[in-house]
Amino acid sequence: MSEIILKIENLSKQYRLGTVGTGTLSHDLNRWWHKVRGKEDPFLKIGDVNNRATKGTSEYVWALKDINIEVKKGEVLGIIGKNGAGKSTLLKILSKVTGPTTGSIKSRGRIASLLEVGTGFHPELTGRENIFLNGAILGMTKTEINAKYDEIVEFSGCERYIDTPVKRYSSGMRVRLAFAVAAFLEPDILVIDEVLAVGDAEFQKKAIGKMQDISKGEGRTVLFVSHNMDAILKLTTRAIVLENGKVVFTGSTDEAVKNYISLKNSIKINKNWDAINEAPGNLFARLKKISVLNNANIPNYDFDVSEDIFILIDYWDFNIENKNTAIIQVFNEYDVLLFSSNEFNSPIWETIHNGNKAVIKTKCKIPSNFLTEGKYSVLVAIGNYNPNRIHIKIENALTFSVRDNFIEGVETVKKNIGGNWPGIIRPLLKWEITKEI
């Protein structure tokens, strides 16, 4: 069973940013002229790594660059990566929606993709008609659909509505019907992108179950893309991690997921910019130093729930028109913004920012017994209000983690009680108790 069913060789995909205009026409003509003379496309040599956060120098970016993957028959391969890492582009090329710029994909089986379920559903047609239309779009023949028709209807649970136009369906029913059609496809290689994020809990469970059947029971080769690490861990055995259009890790799913999470939540507790012109910022402010400190003023990552956490931001303040303020926003591991806080809460902020250029040193204290256990990421920004202007903004600039270590004799919210503690924050609140006899 070690036959290689899919082989991706040096696959790259280049995109042009910006809008289509006269510039496009001149580039096209240039490209065509090179081709006529039998020369190489001049625009293939340029192009930036695809990192959406940074400003690039070229109009062209590589959404995928030199991807090499081999997939064995019967294997369930997970593909994970951040937004914009190139996952969807890869799947689009695999499902022949768009072509690669260079490189090739060789396959020994039919590929079908569930990039988005319900493609081609026509609202005026009935459920029955849409099953046939959608099935045919996905590459099934009429006979194949006929053979599976009853199963599809049963799996969707929309029997009652099957002769009603789809426009009368609830959105959940539409998705159920669409997924049901797709689930009964029988290609050699199935490409799945985030379809599990739909439907109610019951249906999601059903969908995951069906996926497992497809991949395990029926020995189908599956490429599975998801942000849902849980689903990836459940369904796949091998995974690749994409970052900025490149494969950064290939191996067992366990290792890949760990790699991916550390990629996202690497430890960032201290950063200095010594050279003023290389520091992030503009004419009004430049960042000098940021760090996460403990009580002893030492950069630290692991905190106990009973410890104070200090966020330090030092910056060059060149703003003589308006009063700058440092801003922090703290996100938890599910990317929920917990709170934001500003330097201007300091009582001496008004007097400090007196219109002179200076190096401002700020330190914000996140009190003990306030955050719950977990990993946190801090967005750091410098700006001014009225008029509102952001001079510097760095997402995920600092990270730290909070744990409850049950230190003896220290007051905590949870005391020594075991188990999970509900809530996204864990503030220690004052309780007043009286007793009447």
């Binding site: 070690s2 036959e3 290689i4 995109y15 042009r16 289509v20 496009t24 026409l25 096209d28 689009k92 090329i93 695999l94 499902s95 022949k96 929606v97 768009t98 072509g99 690669p100 710029t101 260079t102 490189g103 090739s104 994909i105 060789k106 396959s107 020994r108 089986g109 039919r110 993709s113 990039l115 988005e116 493609t119 081609g120 026509h122 005026e124 047609l125 008609e129 046939f132 239309l133 045919a136 779009i137 996905l138 590459g139 099934m140 023949t141 009429k142």
Partner: protein, 289 residues
């Protein structure tokens, strides 16, 4: 050792940056034949949903066009149509022209209109324009029935009109019209993906083309009236097709073999070019549309 056994080219298919120049993958199209028919069915069923007159719209458009043409070109401008009632003459032209026009306009926005579905799933893109051509054929059929209705009506009124034996070749003419519409449409649709300018051109370009396609006048008056610039009609393949269709249906005018051969060659040429451009575009149009 095993590597060497499995490695050689037993790949089912390969995805590469470039398509072959001319690859109308008939096998693949055949595999998707059910989809083709379902698209046709969808088009036919859904076009006139929630309209009161429904499929009657198929009839109203050519009838009124013919009536207006008769009033303007025959009654006011005084164009002679031989022994044929002007209304029937115009209806014949309009019916044929409509089929070509529908094929062209519906094909010319294939990529733009279907970007949503093309962006998510692969099937041979040519299926879409093909389904348009077929569903338009149905429309053409209905309009032809109306024409036949009036034909019989005029015969009952005692007019000596009868079709030419060459009417047996009408299907060939229809195929030529379909291919020409498809070919031009494919060229335009491929270019519209990147440069939207062309879609404006299509709307009024088709209108203008109709006036030089001998729809409401016979070819015979072109030479005497236009003189020097008669080439504008004579080198228009559609003009020959419309004239020939009238020759077949009404036995009016003359059969210009040279003209029709020119049209066929021109059509095949355009169709092949359209296919090449379409093939080139379908691979990555989704990035630019």
């Amino acid at each position: 050792m095993k590597e060497q056994i499995t490695e050689p080219n037993d790949w089912l298919f390969e995805i590469t940056p470039k398509n072959k120049l001319l690859s109308l993958n008939l096998k693949e199209v055949w595999h998707y034949r059910d989809l083709l028919m379902l698209f046709v069915k969808r088009d036919v069923i859904t076009v006139y949903k929630q309209t009161i007159l429904g499929p009657l719209w198929y009839l109203i458009q050519p009838l009124f066009t013919s009536i207006i043409f008769t009033i303007i070109f025959n009654n006011i401008a005084g164009i002679k149509t031989g022994g044929i009632p002007p209304f029937l003459f115009n209806l014949a032209g309009v019916t044929s022209w409509n089929y070509f026009r529908e094929c062209l306009t519906s094909t010319s926005d294939t990529f733009k209109k279907n970007a949503g579905i093309f962006g998510k799933v692969y099937f041979p893109r040519i299926i879409m324009p093909l389904s348009n051509v077929i569903s338009n054929l149905l429309k053409f059929g209905i309009q032809l029935l109306i024409f036949i209705g009036f034909y019989i009506y005029f015969i009952f009124k005692g007019l000596a009109i009868y079709p030419n034996i060459s009417i047996l070749f009408l299907p060939v003419l229809v195929i030529i019209m379909a291919l020409l519409g498809l070919g031009l449409g494919m060229i335009i649709s491929s270019m519209v993906t990147k440069y939207r300018d062309l879609s404006f051109l299509v709307t009024f370009g088709v209108q203008l083309l109709m006036y030089v396609s001998a729809v409401m006048y016979p070819m015979s008056i072109v030479k005497e009236k236009l003189g020097n610039i008669s080439w504008i009609v004579e080198y228009n393949p559609m003009a020959h097709i419309i004239e020939t269709s009238r020759y077949m249906l009404l036995n009016e005018g003359e059969l210009n073999i040279k003209g029709i051969l020119f049209s066929i060659v021109f059509t095949i040429f355009i169709f092949l070019i359209g296919l090449v451009i379409f093939n080139k575009t379908e691979k990555s149009f989704i990035d630019t549309v």
